[in-house]
């Protein structure tokens, strides 16, 4: 190789050697990250009973008011949560031909959670309104069950399965 070629080679070597290699990220720098999140709330209607199974016993009580004293129970609380349009709560018994009279009413309904109707008598298994005007709310009420018997009825027992339902008005 002649001197000219040597000089060219040396020059190239110097140029290459003097380069500063900057170690940058192999991918572009990202100081932010994004995520799309969709939160959807669906219509829901939940209802439940707080209390145990009940037994109402009509007994003689004071002889002066024989068969005049009904059996009353207020140990059960009805609770509900609804976020849809205006609803109502209905009640029905499974016993279509009970021997003794049974009634139910809603007491102390949570303010703004609904309006109580008149006392419901279970004369058959038809569904009847118990609380109306149930809006988007969580509420509760006390259930008052009343059992009545008269002297013309013999002894016996009626079994009921009471069902409460939130439904559209």
């Amino acid at each position: 190789m002649n001197r000219k070629s040597q000089n060219i080679a040396k020059t190239i070597a110097k140029v290459l050697a003097s380069l500063t290699f900057v170690v940058a990220s192999l991918c572009a720098q990202h100081s932010t990250a994004k995520q799309v999140l969709t939160l959807q709330v669906l219509e829901l209607n939940k209802i439940d009973l707080v209390g145990t199974n009940l037994t109402l016993t009509v007994d003689a009580g004071d002889p002066s008011d024989l068969f005049q004293k009904p059996a009353v129970n207020t140990n059960t609380t009805l609770v509900w949560t609804s976020n849809g349009g205006t609803k109502k709560i209905t009640v029905a018994t499974s016993n279509s031909s009970s021997k003794f009279a049974l009634k139910v009413s809603a007491l102390d309904v949570s303010p703004g959670a609904g309006l109580t109707t008149a006392e419901v008598s279970f004369s058959d298994d038809a569904t009847r309104d118990l609380i109306v005007g149930v809006g988007k709310s969580a509420g509760k009420c006390q259930l008052r069950f009343t059992a009545v018997a008269n002297e013309k009825q013999s002894i016996g027992a009626d079994a009921h399965v009471i069902t409460f339902t939130i439904t559209s008005s």
Binding site: T20, S25, T32, A33, T38, L39, K46
Partner: protein
């Protein structure tokens, strides 16, 4: 003088041998390697859906919640101590959305954040490291709020602490 093929080949060999043994002498050079500050952050799932339904409600309770822990936040930092902030682009959501860093491999999780359009601390004292954490999202709705859908674009940002 005309060289025979053998002698010609011998000369070439000698020439190359000479070059291989530093015929041009010794040369040294300076090389500089510079490492700049690098910051990387990403979420492993680009889009998630959360829903509050009857399964999330308790009769008699006004508030209902749902939780998602399906996504992971990952980062790589080689600079000074950083923090990671979080915010949403949704200015007026109907429902409440919260986020919390679970089991971060580096740094310290800030208290659970209720998302709004202001950047809030999410993860603190993140040093030179690569790490990850689980994103725990909690959606909260009240019965009185009715039904609906909130669409969030959530931004995580690495910045100086």
């Amino acid at each position: 003088m005309k060289l025979s093929p053998l002698k010609y080949l011998l000369c070439v060999i000698l020439l190359l041998w000479g070059r291989a043994n530093g015929q041009f002498g010794v040369s040294s050079h300076t090389m500089t390697v510079q490492v700049q500050e690098i910051t990387g952050i990403q979420v492993n799932i680009g889009s998630i859906n959360m829903a509050i339904s009857g399964a999330d409600a308790v009769a008699g309770q006004d508030d209902m919640t749902t939780i998602d822990q399906s996504s992971t936040l990952l980062w790589g930092i080689n600079g000074n101590t950083k923090k990671i902030t979080v915010q949403t682009a949704l200015a007026t959501p109907t429902f409440t959305l919260k986020v919390l860093a679970l089991t971060p491999t580096q740094g310290t999780a800030a208290p659970e954040v209720t998302l709004n359009t202001t950047a809030q601390d999410f993860l603190l004292s993140v040093g030179r490291s690569s790490g990850n954490c689980i994103l725990k999202y909690t959606g909260v709705a009240f019965a009185s709020q009715g039904t609906g859908t909130d669409a969030h674009t959530i931004t995580f940002t690495v910045q100086a602490q």
